[in-house]
């Protein structure tokens, strides 16, 4: 029984013990395969055939065998930056640590040396954020593949690239948000496009199954994942998909993603925007906002639940609070109240409803403004307050209920965010999260509420890539680790 309070910071660094659970047994066979494994590192692992845990075990062993005296080096790095390396899981750690050891390792390491200099992990590059309701996947599609590279590219990898980039929907529930695609991005020296894909968390088993069927594990890439699901599904990835996830802290990823996407911009446009005249339908307009000097800012991430962070610098941020009244609450209540079954449906209904039939406004009680307290008549005095009356319950439409639910949840988030901003003495509040997807009503309302109740002191800001920042952060962690 409790409010959200996802004190995620508490476990973010250092990451706790136990993720090395997968200390694969090392047998004699593993050692024999070392040379081959080293050789194919950069080119992709598909041709290694056998694949599976053995290969990874081998790779992990490799430095000790080849590097000899250099053995100490990776450990020192681990000590210096325990979080990064611990967080990477065994497979990922070795993939990154391995090449360094290889430098004196002979001709077979040529390509790998190249990769080391360029600090690049193996393709494919994914970032995964497994939330309570939605899985967000970002995929970097390299567009600068040379003919030679293409030749060497394993079939699996090619298939994955083709599959993801040539479709906009996957199965019945997976969707690529084409409008969000970032074009001609340079990441780790590679040029390409960043794709944004989402599907419901309850389809996670199917996703893992697919990964398994497509022999994803044979690619020996590192799958960086964040969100609670990175933990929840870790074992499934391992047993069903033969994949070791590199689990990353949700909030680290979120902030990293926000700062990065904002810095690269949205295909030449500003990622960050705000609403001018948010309640005036005529004059309301979305305007770019320059988030060049972002600190301090209050970051409000509205997923199924809500997390609020005070960000003072790239490295310095604090989880302030959270609330369990989030996107999941809106959608969950809408399903119960209206019988809808998708977020889109709920939003569509909400956009046609009239919440003032459902809510009791200040003017419903006082006939107008409540001047004693400076409360305007239009303010909601009691969300769903009119529904105490049987007659009124019978006269409202599903659309009205959906709208009231949306307004209730949004106002509440606005209220909590405003109080946090005041307590933290921060005046810029950035709202992100998938609750805001196709949800201009909420964004305008947040913009208005923040402005009105703070008498213009607080500004609500929004980002185009709404719910994808965690996944982007996870991808960046993958690249950083190289």
């Amino acid at each position: 029984m409790t409010p959200i309070g996802r004190r995620l910071r508490s476990f973010s660094r250092p990451l706790p013990e136990g993720r090395g659970r997968r200390s694969a047994p090392l047998g004699a066979g593993a050692l024999r395969a070392v040379a081959a494994a080293v050789a194919v590192e950069e080119r992709g692992a598909a041709q290694r055939g056998a694949g599976g845990p053995w290969d990874r075990a081998v790779r992990r062993m490799e430095p000790r065998r080849n590097g000899g005296g250099a053995d100490e080096k990776p450990r020192r790095r681990e000590a210096e930056n325990p979080r990064r390396w611990n967080g990477s899981g065994t497979g990922a750690g070795s993939a990154a640590a391995g090449p360094e050891q290889c430098e004196g390792g002979g001709a077979a390491c040529g390509l790998r040396r190249d990769s080391v200099r360029k600090n690049r992990p193996l393709f494919p590059w994914f970032g995964l954020d497994i939330g309570g309701t939605l899985v967000k996947l970002v995929y970097f599609e390299p567009k600068d593949i040379t003919a030679e590279e293409e030749d060497e590219e394993v079939e699996n990898l090619k298939n994955i690239r083709k599959y993801l980039t040539s479709n906009v929907a996957y199965g019945s529930t997976g969707i690529r948000d084409v409008h969000l695609e970032l074009k001609d991005l340079t990441l780790c020296g590679r040029k390409g496009n960043l794709h944004f894909i989402r599907f419901p968390t309850h389809d996670m088993p199917a996703f893992i199954q697919m990964g398994s069927e497509k022999h994803f594990s044979s690619l020996h890439t590192t799958l960086c994942a964040t969100g609670g699901g990175a933990y929840k599904f870790e074992q499934d990835f391992l047993t069903m998909g033969d994949l070791q996830l590199r689990k990353l802290d949700e909030l680290d990823c979120l902030i990293k993603g926000v700062l990065y996407i904002d810095s690269v911009g949205f295909n030449g446009h500003s990622e960050c925007y705000y609403f001018e005249h948010p309640t005036d339908t005529e004059r309301c307009q979305k305007l770019p906002f320059n988030l060049e000097n972002p600190y301090p800012l209050l970051l409000v991430n509205i997923g199924s639940g809500v997390s609020i962070l005070a960000v003072y610098s790239k490295e310095n941020y604090r989880w302030v609070t959270g609330t369990s009244l989030g996107g999941g609450t809106f959608f969950g209540l809408c399903c119960l109240l209206t019988g809808c079954s998708t977020f889109e449906e709920a939003m569509e209904m909400a956009s046609h409803g009239d919440s003032t039939k459902v809510d009791k406004l200040v003017r419903d009680i006082y006939g107008g403004d409540y001047e004693r307290f400076g409360l305007p008549g239009w303010a909601v005095a009691s969300s769903f307050g009119n529904m105490m009356s049987k007659e009124k319950r019978e006269s409202v439409s599903k659309e009205d209920l959906a709208k009231a639910t949306l307004i209730t949840i949004t106002n509440n988030i606005g209220s909590i965010a405003r109080m946090c901003a005041l307590n933290e003495n921060i005046n810029r509040v950035v709202f992100v999260g998938n609750f805001l997807r196709i949800n201009t009503i909420s964004m305008r309302l947040l913009a208005y509420a923040l402005d009105y109740w703070s008498k213009g002191q607080l500004k609500a800001l929004f980002l185009e890539h709404e719910g994808y920042f965690g996944a982007v952060g996870a991808l960046l962690e993958l690249l950083d680790s190289a």
Partner: protein, 789 residues
């Protein structure tokens, strides 16, 4: 109107269950046609209407709270000294006792369902004889809705008052006047309700009123408050959304559903998101990540109970979180919660408390008020009564006329008392004198008068409740016997017996009904019930006789004391004080002896006393102290009439005076058992002065001052004493406080810390208590304390 009045059904206290035969009158507001015949007069509820004036009404969404000021005529026993000049003193009683009618002010508050409003207004109209009343103050959302009805029915002009102003006025009034008004709620504890000591400074605080919406108000002083925020997610959301989700119409039924539900079926918990990793990550997996996060599907059915529970958690958590954010921003640590969402519902108090603890990390305390439902009505009343200056007086809760706090939770209170059809009452008496802290209390904010908290201590509670039950027949008999000339005395005595018996049964079920249950509150409740049935002073004749007898022995006692050497005399004085204290009609062991052995006297009492070393014995330190310089001024709280005051206390006072110590002798303002009252003490002092030059000159020179405590309790609450006493204590630079008797020095104040030297002495006349303290019956407590510098 058919009113079946179940006065004090077992376990229901004064919760008078009205069952009104409704004929179709359904729906909200429902002033449908009600059967108008009255089978029992509801004057048990709308009491003292004939003198009522200054009406106020607070009409909420479902409950109406009516307030009025009335005067109560009740009998008081007065004592008057005879003019003895030239008469044969020997055969005359010491003084005259007369029973007189006295008029005191009382505030009546009655809470009932809006459904009964029309019937109740009719009843009030029929019984309202006071023609001066022209206006009724009104507050609450329903004040608008029912304005015309009230004006039509009562012929009074409705004068509307701002809701929040009324709430805050009411809140301040309760915080100042009612001890144990405030409590914290503890979920998994034997004592659900943790009552708080009244802090001398009640400001600033945050009042979170959860009606259909939520208002958050910062209160800085009596007249200064500010609405600092609010939320639209409140009781109306629970009710409205709950009704939509569960098709359950009534608020109470929704709460019932919620108390049976499992929110984990509907809410997405952290462990649902993180899986089994929560433990290794140090996450609390049971935290709610997303309220209703599991109902994001059209195919699954969810139970009403589960949805109601989830909704309750969602709303309570949200309010708690906002309240904490506001408390933090304004740097406040006391949050009082009120409004119909809370209104004594354990399930909402529990979730709110949890939320506040969670979000404030224990830094802020969620507090609730026993009479929360009456805040608005009290405030509206005060607005209308400003010319009577109600804030100038001290007020006290009348336990006899008040229903007490009821638990509505079926698991807390198995004899489910449905809220509907129930009339709840709250009465406050205007005290004759304003009450204040004893200036010598070491720390008024932590002072707790009572030694044993019977809400906490189940063993002790059982014992004392039984003890009071067993003594009840005797008390009722004595009450009847005290008024031999009154025809209806036996009938009233029986009514008293019944009423107090029912109070005791209520307290067995709900020890928290009137705040922390203590021996003091049990004694006080008994006194209130006696007064209720016009037995103002059942012991007046006993006291008169005993005072007469004791006075006759005074001189010989003084002579024998004076014949002793200094050190022997000091001991004899203390022993006399203790022996006098044996004469306590409040103790059953003693009253049994006194009833059958009328000749039992001072010497017999001395022989009953425990030999030194006493159970608590700091006599040697006291003797050493007496060898030193005299005290400046001693404040003595006297106990019983007769031998106690005359042969125990007065010789002791005389010795102090002889040493050069001034003495303030404080006696009760009103009668309680055979405790000496202030007016009796005046006569006794006068008679002693006639015999004793030391006392005579001390009275004349104002070195001996007789004052009243402001109390009518056999116990002593040092935080509620007559203001005059407090002033005098300060003026005379009192440096010694002597508290005598079981009620004042053991049941209360045994652990009281004072700024000056103190002497607490008593004879334990109850074997259970003696056993508890590790002694036997007639064990002696002699506790001399010097505050550490």
């Amino acid at each position: 109107m058919h009113i079946h009045l179940h006065t004090d059904e077992a376990g229901r206290g004064a919760g008078l269950a009205f069952k009104m035969a409704e004929r179709g009158g359904r729906g909200s507001g429902g002033h449908g046609s009600l059967d108008k015949s009255i089978t029992l007069p509801p004057d048990e509820i709308f009491r003292n209407l004939e003198n009522a004036k200054r009406f106020a009404i607070d009409i909420g969404g479902s409950l109406t709270k009516l307030a009025y000021y009335s005067t109560v005529q009740h009998k008081v026993a007065r004592v008057r000294s005879f003019d003895h000049s030239g008469k044969d003193i020997e055969n005359e009683p010491l003084y005259e006792i007369s029973v007189q009618e006295e008029i005191t002010a009382r505030l009546h508050f009655i809470k009932f369902e809006n459904n009964y409003i029309e019937t109740c207004l009719d009843f009030i109209k029929d019984h309202l004889v006071n023609t001066e009343t022209q206006v009724i103050k009104a507050t609450g959302g329903g004040a608008y809705k029912f304005k015309d009805l009230i004006e039509k029915k009562l012929g009074l002009k409705v004068d509307k008052e701002d809701v929040m102003t009324c709430l805050i006025k009411g809140c301040n009034f309760l915080l100042r006047n009612i001890p144990h008004e405030v409590f914290a709620y503890q979920k998994d504890s034997d004592t659900e309700f943790r009552f708080q000591t009244n802090h001398p400074n009640i400001f600033p605080y945050l009042l979170v009123n959860i009606g259909s919406g939520v208002s958050i108000v910062k209160v800085e002083s009596e007249d200064k408050f500010e609405w600092i925020g609010g939320s639209s997610i409140g009781g109306g959301t629970f009710w409205g959304l709950g009704a939509l989700l569960t098709k359950t119409k009534k608020f109470d039924e929704l709460l019932q559903l919620a108390s049976k539900g499992q929110h984990t079926n509907v809410d997405m918990l952290v462990k649902d998101v993180y899986g089994g990793a929560c433990q290794t990550l140090g996450l609390s997996g049971n935290l709610i990540a997303s309220s209703f996060g599991k109902s994001t599907t059209a195919d699954k059915e969810f139970s009403k109970e589960d949805m109601a529970k989830s909704l309750l958690h969602m709303i309570s958590n949200d309010i708690g979180q906002l309240a904490c954010l506001y408390a933090k921003l304004h740097n406040l640590d006391k949050i009082y919660f009120g409004g119909f969402f809370i209104r004594g519902h354990p399930v909402t108090m529990r979730t709110i408390t949890f939320s506040i603890n969670f979000f404030s990390k224990g830094e802020v305390q969620a507090l609730f008020l026993r009479h929360e439902g009456y805040l608005g009505a009290i405030g509206a009343f005060l607005k209308g009564a400003e010319q009577d200056n109600p804030n100038q007086y001290s007020w006290g809760e009348n336990y006899a006329g008040s229903s007490g706090l009821m638990s509505t939770s079926p698991d807390v209170y198995p004899m489910q008392r449905t809220r509907s059809g129930t009339f709840d009452m709250f009465e406050m008496d205007r005290l004759e004198r304003p009450l204040v802290n004893l200036p010598l209390l070491k720390d008024p904010s932590t002072y707790i008068p009572d030694t044993v908290d019977l809400t906490d201590d189940a063993m002790a509670r059982k014992y004392w409740l039984t003890c009071f039950e067993e003594a009840l027949d005797g008390v009722a008999k004595r009450a009847a016997a005290s008024q031999p000339d009154s025809v209806d005395a036996p009938e009233r005595a029986e009514k008293f017996r019944q009423k107090y018996w029912n109070k005791l049964q209520t307290l067995r079920q709900q020890p928290f009904a009137y705040g922390t249950l203590t021996v003091r509150s049990l004694l006080d409740t008994r006194e209130h019930c006696l007064n209720e049935f016009n037995f103002p002073d059942p012991y007046s004749k006993v006291k008169q006789k005993e005072n007469g007898i004791a006075l006759k022995c005074f001189q010989s006692v003084i002579e024998s004391l004076d014949s002793l050497g200094w050190e022997e005399r000091q001991f004899a004085l203390v022993k006399g004080l203790l022996a006098g204290n044996v004469f306590d009609w409040g103790a059953k062991a003693v009253s049994d002896v006194l009833e059958c052995e009328p000749q039992f006297g001072f010497e017999e009492a001395k022989s009953k006393l425990q030999e030194r070393p006493w159970l608590e014995d700091s006599y040697s330190q006291w003797l050493e102290r007496l060898k030193g310089p005299p005290h400046k001024c001693a404040l003595i709280f006297a106990d019983n009439s007769g031998i106690d005051i005359i042969l125990g206390v007065f010789p002791f006072v005389r010795e102090l005076l002889s040493r050069g110590t001034e003495v303030i002798l404080a006696c009760n303002s009103g009668p309680a058992l055979n405790d000496v009252t202030y007016s009796e003490s005046l006569i006794v002092a006068e008679r002693i002065a006639a015999m004793d030059p030391v006392i005579q000159s001390a009275l004349k020179e104002e070195k001996l001052l007789l004052v009243q405590t402001g109390s009518s309790s056999p116990c002593l609450d040092l935080s509620r004493l007559d203001k005059g006493l407090a002033v005098l204590v300060r003026e005379r630079k009192t440096d010694l406080v002597i508290i005598e008797g079981m009620g004042r020095a053991i049941h209360t104040n045994y652990y009281a810390a004072l700024k000056c030297e103190s002497l607490k002495l008593a004879v334990i006349k109850n074997s259970w208590l003696a056993d508890r303290l590790g002694g036997k019956i007639f064990s002696v407590i002699f506790k001399y304390e010097v505050p550490c510098k």
